[in-house]
C-alpha cells in the first residue's frame, strides 16, 4: 500500500529525513522514541541523531565507493595494458585498497623542516571535506537525498571552487618548487575550466527553471515517443560534451593532469606529503571523480529517474527507491569508466594547449550553446 503510493508518485519525500521518519512511523516505533525524548524536552536531539545517522551512512557509502574506485582504476588500466592488476589480496585483489590504507596509515608523517606547518597540515583537510560536502544536495535515488537545497547546483559549484585554494595552500606550504608549480598549474586549470562548466550547467537550468537537483532530475523523467528517455543529453549534446570535458579537467585526470604530471613535476602539489595526509589527497581525488560523475549523471543523464517505469510490474513497487539507486549508480559508474578509459588512452596535453582549449574553444562554444538554448526557449520550441 505504502510503496504503491510511492510508486505512482502520490507520496514523494523531500529528503531522507522525512523518509526515515515515515518508515519509523509506519513500523510504529517513532512515537515511543519521540515521547522518550520529549520527556526530557530534547526533541531537537532526536532530529540531530537521525540526520547524523544519515550523514554517517552517506560517508561510509562514499568511502567504500572510493575504495572500490581505486581498485577499479587499477583493474581498468591493467585490462587495457594486457595485465592482471591486483590479484593476490582477496578475491581478484578486491581487498587491495584495504591493504593500501593500512600501508599509508603505517607510514611516517613527514613535515618538511622549512614548510609552513599549519597551512601544510590544514590543506589535506581543506581538500577532503569539500569533496565530501558536494554529496549533500545530490539525489542518489527517489527521496534519497540529504537536503534538497533550492540552490543545489550553485552550492555544488561553489563548494568545488574551494579545492583550488586548498591545492594552492598545499603547494605553497610545501616550500618546494615542484609543489608550487603544480599548484599554480592546478589553479590556472581549475579557474579556466570552471567557467565552461558553469555555463553549460546554466543551459540545463534554463530548461528546468530551478537550481534544485531534485527538480532537474524530475524534469528528466518520462520518455519522448515512448522510447527516447527525456534526458538533457538529447537536448544539450554540445553542453554535455563541454560539461564532460570541463569536469574531467576539473578532476585533474589525464589528459588534463597538470596538477600532478608525474613526468614533469615529481607529484605536483602533493610531492612533500606522506602517510595519512597523502591518503587524504588520494581519497579526495577519487571522491571528486565520483561526485563529478554523479553531477554529470544528474544534469544530463536523467539522474535516478527510471525512464521505462511502466515496464516494471507493480509487484516490485516496494523496490522503487532501491531500483532508482541502482539506476543512478550504474549511470555514474558508466561515466567513471569513461574517465578511466580516457585516462588509459590519451597522453597528457601541454599547458598552453590546455589553456587555449579552455579559453579559446570551450568558453565560446559554451556561450554559443547558452545563446542557442535561450533563443529556442524564448521562441517556445521546448
Amino acid at each position: 500500500m505504502l510503496f504503491l503510493a510511492m510508486w505512482t508518485g502520490d507520496i514523494m519525500f523531500a529528503n531522507t529525513y522525512e523518509l526515515i521518519v515515515f518508515i519509523l512511523n509506519y513500523i510504529g516505533i517513532y512515537d515511543p522514541i519521540y515521547n522518550v525524548f520529549k520527556m526530557f524536552g530534547l526533541e531537537y536531539l532526536l532530529r540531530i541523531i537521525i540526520v547524523l545517522v544519515e550523514i554517517a551512512v552517506l560517508f561510509v557509502f562514499i568511502l567504500l565507493t572510493i575504495m572500490f574506485l581505486t581498485w577499479m582504476e587499477r583493474k581498468v588500466v591493467a585490462m587495457v595494458q594486457a595485465r592482471y592488476g591486483p590479484m593476490v589480496t582477496g578475491p581478484r585483489g578486491l581487498l587491495q585498497p584495504v591493504m593500501d590504507g593500512v600501508k599509508l596509515i603505517g607510514k611516517e608523517d613527514i613535515i618538511p623542516a622549512k614548510a609552513d606547518r599549519w597551512v601544510f597540515t590544514l590543506a589535506p583537510f581543506l581538500i577532503f571535506i569539500p569533496a565530501l560536502l558536494v554529496f549533500i544536495p545530490l539525489p542518489f535515488g527517489e527521496s534519497l537525498i540529504i537536503s534538497d537545497l533550492n540552490v543545489g547546483l550553485l552550492y555544488i559549484i561553489a563548494i568545488s571552487a574551494i579545492s583550488p585554494i586548498a591545492i594552492l595552500m598545499a603547494g605553497w606550504a610545501s616550500n618546494n618548487k615542484y609543489s608550487l608549480m603544480g599548484a599554480v598549474r592546478a589553479v590556472a586549470q581549475d579557474l579556466s575550466y570552471t567557467i565552461p562548466l558553469a555555463l553549460s550547467a546554466i543551459a540545463v537550468v534554463l530548461f528546468t527553471g530551478s537550481l534544485s537537483t531534485v527538480d532537474i532530475v524530475t524534469a528528466q523523467s518520462g520518455t519522448w515517443f515512448g522510447f527516447i528517455p527525456k534526458w538533457f543529453i538529447f537536448l544539450q549534446p554540445l553542453g554535455f560534451i563541454l560539461f564532460l570535458i570541463a569536469s574531467i579537467a576539473e578532476m585533474g585526470r589525464i589528459p588534463f593532469d597538470f596538477q600532478e604530471s608525474e613526468s614533469e613535476l615529481v607529484a605536483g602539489f602533493f610531492t612533500e606529503y606522506s602517510g595519512m595526509k597523502f591518503a587524504m589527497f588520494f581519497l579526495a581525488e577519487y571522491a571528486h571523480l565520483f561526485s563529478v560523475s554523479a553531477i554529470v549523471v544528474t544534469l544530463f543523464l536523467g539522474g535516478w529517474s527510471i525512464p521505462f517505469l511502466n515496464l516494471i510490474p507493480a509487484t516490485f513497487a516496494a523496490l522503487v527507491p532501491i531500483i532508482s539507486l541502482v539506476v543512478f549508480v550504474i549511470k555514474t559508474y558508466a561515466i567513471i569508466f569513461f574517465a578511466m578509459w580516457l585516462r588509459d588512452t590519451v597522453p597528457r596535453m601541454r599547458i598552453d594547449q590546455l589553456l587555449n582549449l579552455g579559453w579559446k574553444t570551450m568558453i565560446p562554444l559554451a556561450l554559443l550553446n547558452l545563446l542557442v538554448t535561450a533563443l529556442l526557449m524564448t521562441a517556445g520550441v521546448f
Partner: protein, 138 residues
C-alpha cells in the same frame, strides 16, 4: 582560418578509445600476457643461463674459467682433495663464458633463477652447492 582544418570530431582520440576498449573486452587476439609469478612460472628455455653447476667427475680444476671470468667471479678452491670452482653469484653477470671455455665441458648453467638471498656471504656458492655427479645421476 587554421581552426577550420582542425579535427573537431576528435577522430584520433575516438580511434584510440576504440583500440583500448578492444583491449578491455579482449576483442580479437588480445590475451593477458603477464604471469602471476609466485603462483605460476614461465617455462625456462633449455639454454637459459641461471645458476652454475659443475660436473664433479669431469672438472679437472684447471682454472681456465677463473682466468676468463670478466668479473672475477670464480675462484678455484680445494674441496675433498680436488680443486673446484667457487662462484660468487652476487658478482656474476651470467655471460656464460665459463661454460664456453671449459675444456672438459664440466661447467653447466641450470635454469635456477631465484637466487635472491639475505646476505652477501650466502651468495658465494662453494663447490658443495655447485657440484653434481653425472654418474650417480645415471
Amino acid at each position: 582560418m587554421t581552426w577550420i582544418s582542425k579535427d573537431w570530431a576528435m577522430g584520433g582520440i575516438i580511434k584510440g578509445l576504440i583500440v583500448t576498449l578492444k583491449h578491455v573486452f579482449r576483442v580479437g587476439n588480445r590475451p593477458t600476457v603477464t604471469v602471476q609469478y609466485p603462483f605460476e612460472r614461465m617455462k625456462v628455455q633449455p639454454r637459459f643461463r641461471g645458476l652454475h653447476a659443475v660436473d664433479e667427475n669431469a672438472c679437472i680444476g684447471c682454472g681456465i674459467c677463473e682466468t676468463n671470468c670478466p668479473n672475477s667471479t670464480i675462484t678455484i678452491v680445494k674441496h675433498n682433495t680436488n680443486w673446484y670452482p667457487q662462484v660468487n653469484v652476487g658478482m656474476c653477470l651470467f655471460c656464460g663464458i665459463c661454460v664456453d671455455v671449459c675444456p672438459m665441458n664440466a661447467m653447466k648453467m641450470t635454469g635456477n633463477y631465484e637466487l635472491a638471498d639475505y646476505n652477501r656471504e650466502s651468495l658465494i656458492y662453494g663447490p658443495d652447492r655447485l657440484l653434481f655427479n653425472k654418474e650417480v645421476n645415471k
